[in-house]
């Protein structure tokens, strides 16, 4: 660990070295966006709980609440662990960083929620299928969304570079 401060702005400008150290720092930060497997599984289960709870009518409200609270708590815990709040300062930035996988998961969740709301009194197996599909998609696409976020976080910042 360096205890000294390398902050001499009058040092000669080496653009190649400067751009390289900036990219290296981004790469180190990006490597932190890596969640354990169980987090993705738990997130899938919580999403399935929300969809299933919503589709079960009044009886499922407690499950839906449990899923919502769990999902919020899990997201906050993950943000603290990773140390990079991807939702800030741009609220929906986490979707863009994990695109297209995080967007697909989000759309699947919204579609499953819309299905169980629109198709009232749907048979239990249909509600459970919608919940399972949304949950499995969320769990399966989590790691690839993280990989996409790592790629974007470490990408070149220079003007004209790919975003």
């Amino acid at each position: 660990m360096e205890s000294h401060s390398n902050d001499n702005p009058s040092s000669p400008v080496d653009p190649v070295a400067a751009l390289r150290v900036a990219n290296d720092a981004q790469a180190r930060m990006a490597s932190r966006v890596h969640s354990p497997w169980w987090l993705h599984v738990l997130r899938g289960l919580l999403v399935a709980t929300i969809v299933g709870g919503l589709g079960s009518g009044a009886d499922g409200s407690a499950w839906m609440l449990l899923g919502l609270v769990g999902l919020v708590a899990l997201s906050r815990w993950r943000t603290r662990q990773v140390g990079v709040a991807r939702a800030n300062p741009e609220r929906w930035r986490f979707l863009a960083l994990g695109a297209p996988w995080s967007i697909i998961s989000f759309v699947a969740l919204v579609a499953a929620l819309a299905f169980v709301v629109v198709v009232r009194d749907a048979p239990t197996w249909q509600v459970m299928t919608a919940a399972a599909v949304a949950g499995v998609l969320m769990a399966a696409l989590g790691p690839v969304a993280d990989h996409a976020a790592r790629t974007r976080l470490s990408s070149d910042l220079t003007p004209g570079a790919a975003r």
């Binding site: 660990m1 360096e2 205890s3 000294h4 401060s5 390398n6 902050d7 001499n8 702005p9 009058s10 400008v13 653009p15 190649v16 400067a18 751009l19 150290v21 900036a22 990219n23 290296d24 720092a25 981004q26 180190r28 930060m29 990006a30 932190r32 603290r80 990773v82 140390g83 990079v84 709040a85 991807r86 939702a87 800030n88 300062p89 741009e90 930035r93 974007r152 976080l153 470490s154 990408s155 910042l157 220079t158 003007p159 004209g160 975003r163």
Partner: protein, 98 residues
């Protein structure tokens, strides 16, 4: 990100501050500990750089008190900081050998 005018910025140019700004530009809001690990520097060194950047109006600090009494500091790049970084990157790119 629109193409900014190339402009050398002495505040951003210092290697460790350039790394801080680069991490913030991509990461959004980044925790103090992540920046410290990314730079491999001491708390005091990072604090000094953040103070310089704060005084220039390039970063904002947000302190969050946790239940166990330990506080965490989150750092974001301000619009002025983002503009300065983009201008500095454009400057570096303009003088970089092809």
């Amino acid at each position: 990100m629109s193409s900014p005018a190339p402009a050398f910025d002495p505040v951003v140019h210092a290697p460790q501050r350039l790394q801080i700004c680069a991490m913030l530009a991509r990461g959004g809001e980044v925790e103090f500990g992540v920046l410290r690990e990314g730079l491999d520097v001491s708390d005091a060194t990072l604090s000094k750089h953040l103070r310089t950047l704060t005084e220039a109006g390039y970063v904002d600090l947000r302190r969050v008190q946790r239940a166990k009494g330990q506080a965490r500091t989150w750092v974001t790049l301000t619009p002025a900081g983002s503009q300065a970084l983009r201008g500095h990157f454009a400057f570096l790119q303009s003088i970089a050998p092809l």
